[in-house]
């Protein structure tokens, strides 16, 4: 009796083990794995306004450009970088090792990208960064591409423009100390001092600054013509509110920051009127596909897309062009070669890369916030600079090719 029970149990177990084999023996259509693209946006932390704006641009890219390329379906997986380099690196590892991403859309904070870059080198996975960052991530054995250029390319012309066109002689710097501030300011300082200007004071405020009162008070104490600042994310609100409340009546020049983000500028309202800021994108650009992008964006989000929304859209466009060029081959070498050979008409213009993976020609639109503080309505375009970066020794140096 006992023997029989053992026999029945053994047969049952064999049967259970065979079921999946029988299933697989049935003819099934082979399912091709989708191409996975990983995206890191900062949806929380001080850069959340920027991250959300970028993620919205990516959503529109999926709708307008589709989710199929080179005959294969594309799966997008998005993670929150939390404005924190450690978190961003963890998310990059997860996207590559667990999700199998073949390319990454890298987040806005330079510190996060500097944390991820060595890992991308190790894994040989291409990463394309939203907006610009410093040259360290594109020198050496690098796997980061910068379609919007290096940070100094954006601020070097601001320095030239401030001294030569706006007539400022003495400027104080107030910038976020984490990662990007000093790099943005280096470009400005070069341009401003080359044109005869003087940097009177340089202050880098810490992350999570809750009260800008002391910094605005210090600016009141200085004999200066203007303030050059970098106020990303929620810092813009702290600074401009304190500036208005303390009655600081000085012109402000900005590097990147929140000004080109229409909903943020609308929130800031009158506090930011008069600020001169650069942007890598204008919603009014007459470039292929731009009006389609703007219409789709406005339809979905009822707001004008920012440079970050456009930046994310452009990055996905570049990734698609690279995948088309490889015929859907997602190997590191094929993708790297395809990205290096990229020459694509995007919504911000024709884009291709230098051997250092930096956009060959970058355009920066310098604007002044109009009287109503509404970016779409009355921001005044002061000038457009077309720049490039030249390799001088071991460094990349910004060059202004043309002013318009």
């Amino acid at each position: 009796m006992k023997k029989r029970a053992y026999l029945v149990t053994a047969l049952l177990m064999v049967g259970i083990l065979l079921v999946p084999l029988l299933g697989s023996a049935c003819p099934q259509p082979a399912e091709e794995k989708p191409i996975v693209i990983g995206m890191i946006f900062d949806l929380t932390g001080p850069f959340a306004p920027a991250g959300i704006s970028g993620s919205r641009g990516a959503e529109i890219a999926k709708e307008v450009l589709g989710t199929e390329v080179a005959g294969k379906s594309v799966k997008f997986i998005s993670e929150d970088g939390a404005t924190d380099p450690t978190t961003a690196l963890d998310k990059a590892k997860k996207l590559i090792e667990t999700d199998g991403a073949c390319m990454l859309l890298l987040p806005l904070p330079g510190a996060s990208v500097r944390a991820i870059a060595p890992y991308l080198e190790q894994k040989k996975i291409p990463g394309i960064k939203l907006e610009m960052t410093d040259e360290s991530v594109v020198l050496g054995d690098h796997w980061v591409w910068l379609p919007a250029g290096i940070q100094e390319e954006e601020t070097y012309p601001v320095g030239l423009f401030a001294a030569n066109n706006l007539g400022y002689k003495k400027v104080a710097i107030l910038a976020w100390e984490i990662g990007d501030g000093p790099y943005f300011m280096a470009g400005f300082k070069d341009g401003f001092t080359e044109s005869g200007g003087t940097i009177v004071n340089e202050t880098y405020y810490p992350a999570d600054t809750a009260d800008f009162g002391p910094y605005v008070l210090a600016l009141q104490n200085l004999d200066i013509d203007a303030v050059m600042g970098y106020f990303p994310g929620s810092n813009a609100f702290g600074f401009y509110d304190a500036k208005a409340n303390f009655g600081l009546d000085l012109p402000v020049l900005e590097a990147a920051g929140e000004m080109p983000n229409p909903p943020v500028q609308a929130q800031l309202g009158m506090a930011s009127v008069g600020t001169v800021f650069p942007a890598t994108y204008l919603a009014s650009l007459d470039t292929p596909g731009n009006q389609e992008f703007v219409a789709a964006y406005q339809d979905k989000y009822q707001e004008t897309p920012s440079h970050l929304s456009a930046g994310a859209y452009v990055i996905i466009d570049i990734m698609y062009q690279a995948l088309k060029a490889t015929g859907g081959d997602t190997s590191s070498t094929a993708l790297s070669e395809a990205l290096n050979a990229t020459s694509v008409d995007t919504i911000i213009g024709t884009l291709s890369f230098t051997p250092e993976h930096v956009g060959i020609i970058n355009q920066y639109f310098y604007q002044k916030v109009g009287a109503t503080g509404d970016v779409a309505a009355d921001n005044k375009l002061l000038a457009t600079a077309y720049t490039s970066s030249e390799k001088v020794g071991d460094d990349l140096k910004p060059v202004v090719l043309e002013w318009k």
Binding site: A48, Q220, G233, S234, F237, N245, G247
Partner: protein, 286 residues
């Protein structure tokens, strides 16, 4: 010299905002033994609701009332739904209230969206006055007055009323207080709701001084509030005020004269206090 006075005044006003933020937390932690990490999120609820009402109606006082009431309701929900089961269980309290930070943050993201919102300043308190060669916002002067008023109110409630005496007695020896015929349950609920209401009040009043509110505010504010509690000590209104003013003034002076070390100021103060007086400058032993 005028700039020194002006920067002291900036520090004083910032310290008063910190006091408003931390007073409720210190009260809950010191007198009730509740570690409420959702305090910053409750502050945020008060800020958002108050701001919405103030912008809609154009009335600052209605904004204060709405923010305070909303925070009190959220506090009541947290206490009744979870914390009443977890008294004297600090680890569980930390986990549960930390969970509420995520819930509240995501709900605020749904309702108010991702972009920061600038605080509401009534026209009466708008503008600035001149002190020497510096301008100083009138609203910040008002914050100093409001902070002092709240300080005296809390001190009076805690030290001069029967309810305050019951709360303190209940924290020191709950069985004995109950044996004396005092029903501690409504007092405990009321105290928690009151602490939350102060957070909501601070959320609306404070953001107008500090600039803006966004969905990350709750997570950032809780660190400031805990810093004040560590420096000043918990369970004492005087401790919360002294800790907040010390941090506010030192941070402002450092931000003005040595901005490169401003990031560490509060933490250095916390380390020094923890080394030499672990219960804080004026705190109760817990």
């Amino acid at each position: 010299m005028e700039f020194l006075y002006a920067s002291l005044l900036v520090g004083l006003s910032y310290g008063m905002v910190l006091f408003l933020i931390a007073a409720g937390l210190s009260f809950m932690l010191g007198l009730m033994g509740i570690v409420n990490l959702a305090h910053g999120a409750i502050f945020m609820v008060g800020g958002y609701i108050g701001l919405t009402v103030a912008i809609t109606t154009g009335n600052y006082v209605l904004g204060i009332l709405a923010g305070t009431l909303a925070a009190a309701i959220v506090g009541l929900f947290i206490e009744r739904a979870t914390l009443r089961q977890l008294y004297k269980q600090p680890l569980e309290q930390i986990l549960v209230t930390f969970g509420f930070v995520y819930v509240i943050t995501n709900v605020t993201l749904w309702i108010w969206g991702p972009y920061p919102k600038i605080g509401f300043t009534p026209s009466l308190l708008d503008g600035s006055i001149t002190i020497g060669e510096s301008s100083f916002p009138i609203y910040r002067l008002a914050i100093i007055v409001i902070g002092l008023a709240i300080y005296f109110l809390l001190w009076w409630l805690q030290s001069r009323t029967k309810i305050g005496a019951i709360v303190r007695a209940g924290m020191d020896d709950a069985p004995m207080t109950s044996a004396l015929g005092k029903n501690l349950s409504p007092v405990t609920i009321g105290a928690f709701v009151f602490g939350s209401a102060i957070a909501g009040f601070a959320g609306f009043v404070g953001i107008a001084a500090l600039g803006s509110i966004d969905v990350g505010t709750g997570s950032r504010i809780i660190f400031l509030a805990l810093g004040v509690c560590i420096v000043g000590g918990v369970g004492s209104v005087h401790g919360a005020l002294v800790g907040a003013l010390l941090i506010g003034i030192v941070e402002s002076l450092v931000g003005f004269y040595f901005p490169e070390v401003a990031l560490f100021t509060m933490y250095v103060l916390m380390v020094i206090i923890l080394l030499f007086k672990p219960s804080g400058l004026l705190g109760r032993e817990i």
